[in-house]
């Protein structure tokens, strides 16, 4: 402000320095300079509008719909506040869908942690130079090809007359495969029509999202701590359990947020590979379609949001977002 005050008297002097006349751009920038808040609002208006109207607005519309209900007789939507649609979620068939989806998400996350940890550990601690590049390429490559192509390919691999059956027959291990498929609940008539198959495909498709944050957090574990641990006489197993794992936990949780939420929202994989038993995404898709039962579809859509909010709250306490 002092500079502006300085300028005014000088401009007023008839014999002062000849300043070029101020164009529109100068004046606009002067306004921004004098009122920094105007600049801030101008820059933020569009993204904020996007966030509020498009993101939160549609979410609010969704939430609102879930408090309506469908009339039992006419099938029309009653636009009055009610919790009856949420009560409908508690019906056994609908609870099945929720439990099924959450269990699958948890199983996929657990599987991803177990498989991703050694890969990420190797990449973070041992891979150097070309190997590191190769690692990144290897992890990212599946992400570049179409999701649908991968899922269809898996359907063929897992089919009853697919390559897995062919190999197990060839090495005389078909009894093992049949034994696995005979398991109650998770088994089925072939891998591609069982929960095991659905789980495998989910695991494959979401694994990179677990490896990358995990690797980032493992790289940040200081070498000095590992040395200190060794100096104090810890075995390798003890070091892993009491030093590396707790320090890598934020990365693991960050990865699990991806695998968990992505599995919970997906409706394509369980449609192509699996026993046709519905997951939440499929139920939403079907209910909002010809059924016109938008309230129940909206209530279903709220379930993953609630579960993820709980999950994120716990994750934040564990410091998961430090690793992002």
């Amino acid at each position: 402000m002092t500079l502006a005050a300085d300028l005014t008297p000088r401009e007023a002097k008839p014999n002062g320095a000849v300043l070029p006349s101020r164009g529109l751009g100068d004046r606009v920038s002067a306004v921004f300079w004098r009122h920094p808040n105007v600049l801030l609002v101008t820059l933020l208006a569009l993204p904020l509008l996007w966030l509020v109207v498009v993101y939160l607005g549609s979410l609010a519309a969704l939430l609102l719909q879930s408090f309506y209900s469908i009339d039992e007789f006419s099938g029309m939507i009653r636009r009055e506040f009610t919790l009856s649609t949420y009560a409908e979620l508690l019906r056994p068939a609908n609870m099945d869908i929720i439990i099924r989806t959450v269990s699958m998400s948890a199983a996929v996350t657990l599987g991803a942690v177990i498989i991703a940890f050694p890969i990420a550990y190797f990449a973070a601690r041992y891979a150097r130079g070309h190997w590191k590049a190769l690692f990144y390429l290897g992890v990212m490559l599946p992400l570049w090809s179409s999701y649908l192509v991968k899922v269809y390919a898996w359907k063929l691999i897992l089919a009853r007359e697919g390559i897995i059956t062919w190999v197990t027959d060839g090495i005389g291990a078909s009894a093992v495969l049949n034994g696995i498929l005979a398991l109650p609940v998770i088994g089925g008539s072939s891998l591609s029509t069982s929960y095991i198959g659905t789980w495998l495909v989910f695991l494959y498709v979401w694994l990179p999202y677990m490896i990358l944050p995990m690797q980032a957090s493992l790289e940040r574990v200081p070498q000095s701590m590992l040395e200190a641990s060794a100096d104090l006489g810890a075995s390798r197993w003890q070091t892993l359990r009491t030093v590396i794992f707790p320090l890598a936990l934020p990365g693991i949780i960050a990865g699990s947020i991806f695998t968990f939420s992505l599995t919970m929202g997906d409706y394509i994989i369980p449609q192509i590979v699996g026993s046709s038993r519905r997951f939440i995404g499929q139920a939403v898709y079907q209910l909002q379609g010809t059924a016109g039962n938008i309230p129940l579809a909206a209530a279903f859509a709220v379930v993953p949001i609630v579960i993820m909010l709980i999950y994120l709250t716990i994750a934040r306490r564990k410091g998961a977002f430090d690793a992002l």
Partner: protein, 385 residues
């Protein structure tokens, strides 16, 4: 929101009765030079997918109406697009057509402006899914049955004669059980297939239409479907996934469209299809005209073209469907032949119950189970409830 409005208008129209017919086009003017159609994928082909399947180019050349097609994958999408407006015609299925009429999205068709109307199949001329109170809200486009496809290696010389093979556990002619080797459609409308089976086998239930079920009939159909769940490894949703299942999953039998049967046979997969003794469900599509259509002359010319050109014959080959003009099967206007029509179920019209949306206020009884409950209950059945 569109959906809400739609439901509202549909129900309102159902309550107060359909409003009187709106004005229809009295005479044709000069063609407007363009035409916008909402259609099922593969319904309007201009030789871009396969060169020999083209029924648009000749129309554009002779009338100067340039055809723009918007594909819609579900009936809901079709209704939504028609509600938005900006289109002249739609190829609406039985579940969408009455909704469009009730919502006043389509206008009556002046049949005297369509010279080929007389060639339309008599069985379709007064069909209830597009004729309301004697007013024609469209012109039939194409129809087809949902047939029973079976693996000829499994069934050998004794093709299945009943939907039994997908509804009850049994040993198939190859000596193995059908458990895990049959499929069913994963759309809730499949409940109608179960109801049709019961119509034949349990007459004491008194089902007169598989789309109009009271609670007791509906429960019986669901019980039948629960048995089917124990036999079915996977329900089919996508035609190409089902075809893959017949190739790689050792499927023996399933309800399906002639489309899949034709494609699989074309690839040398040992399958064939029948319409079993109980009959079958099916679909029947209608060309309907938007109430605010801008290109009415082109639209009328297209409707005439759809009946008189190679369209009926070639589309029925392409889609495994049936022409609505019987002559198209035999007069060589396109690639269809009498044998082809028979294969696609042309002679079985009377045994096919065409798809309509179940509503609570139904004709045959006091009150029927409406479609939204079909959806949630079928989800439960597939989930093992």
């Amino acid at each position: 929101m569109k959906h809400l409005k739609l439901l509202g208008t549909t129900a309102l129209a159902a309550i107060i009765g359909f409003s009187p017919a709106m004005a229809q086009v009295a005479e044709l003017g000069t063609p407007e030079g363009k035409l916008n159609i909402v259609a099922w994928p593969g319904y309007i082909e201009r030789g871009e997918t396969m060169a020999e399947f083209d029924w648009v180019t000749s129309f554009e050349e002779s009338t100067g109406c340039m055809v723009q097609v918007k594909s819609a994958n579900t009936s809901d999408e079709m209704v939504a697009l028609m509600n938005e407006g900006g289109f002249d015609l739609v190829t609406a299925s039985g579940d969408a057509s009455l909704r469009l009429v009730a919502g006043q999205r389509v206008q009556p068709i002046n049949l005297s402006l369509i010279p080929s109307w007389d060639t339309v199949d008599d069985r379709l001329k007064e069909a209830p899914w597009y004729v309301v109170d004697g007013v024609h809200y469209g012109v039939p486009y194409q129809w087809g049955p949902n047939v029973l496809m079976y693996n000829t290696d499994v069934f050998g010389d004794s093709p299945p004669n009943s939907w039994d093979v997908v509804f009850a556990e049994m040993d198939l002619p190859d000596g193995q059980t059908n458990k895990g080797r049959v499929q069913a459609y994963d759309g809730p409308i499949h409940i109608a297939d179960a109801a049709q089976y019961l119509m034949y086998h349990s007459p004491e239930l008194g089902i007169t239409s598989p789309y109009e079920l009271n609670q007791a009939q509906y429960d019986a159909a669901l019980d039948l479907l629960r048995v089917q769940r124990t036999l079915t490894a996977r329900y089919w949703h996508d035609a190409f996934i089902q075809m893959d299942d017949f190739r790689n999953e050792g499927m023996a039998a399933s309800g399906t469209w002639p489309f899949q049967v034709n494609l699989l046979q074309g690839d040398g997969v040992p399958v064939a299809s029948v319409i079993p003794q109980e009959g079958a469900t099916g679909w029947a599509d209608t060309t309907m005209m938007h109430v605010n259509a801008e290109n009415t002359t082109c639209a009328y010319l297209w409707i005439e073209h759809s009946l008189s050109s190679n369209l009926q014959a070639d589309l029925s080959v392409w889609f495994g469907a049936n022409p609505v003009v019987p002559a198209a099967c035999t007069d060589g206007r396109g690639m269809q032949t009498a044998e082809g029509c028979t294969k696609n179920g042309f002679d079985d019209f009377d045994r096919i119950r065409f798809w309509t949306t179940p509503v609570s206020s139904c004709e045959s009884q006091d009150e029927c189970v409406p479609y939204y409950r079909w959806v949630s209950d079928y989800i439960g059945v597939i989930g093992g409830r």
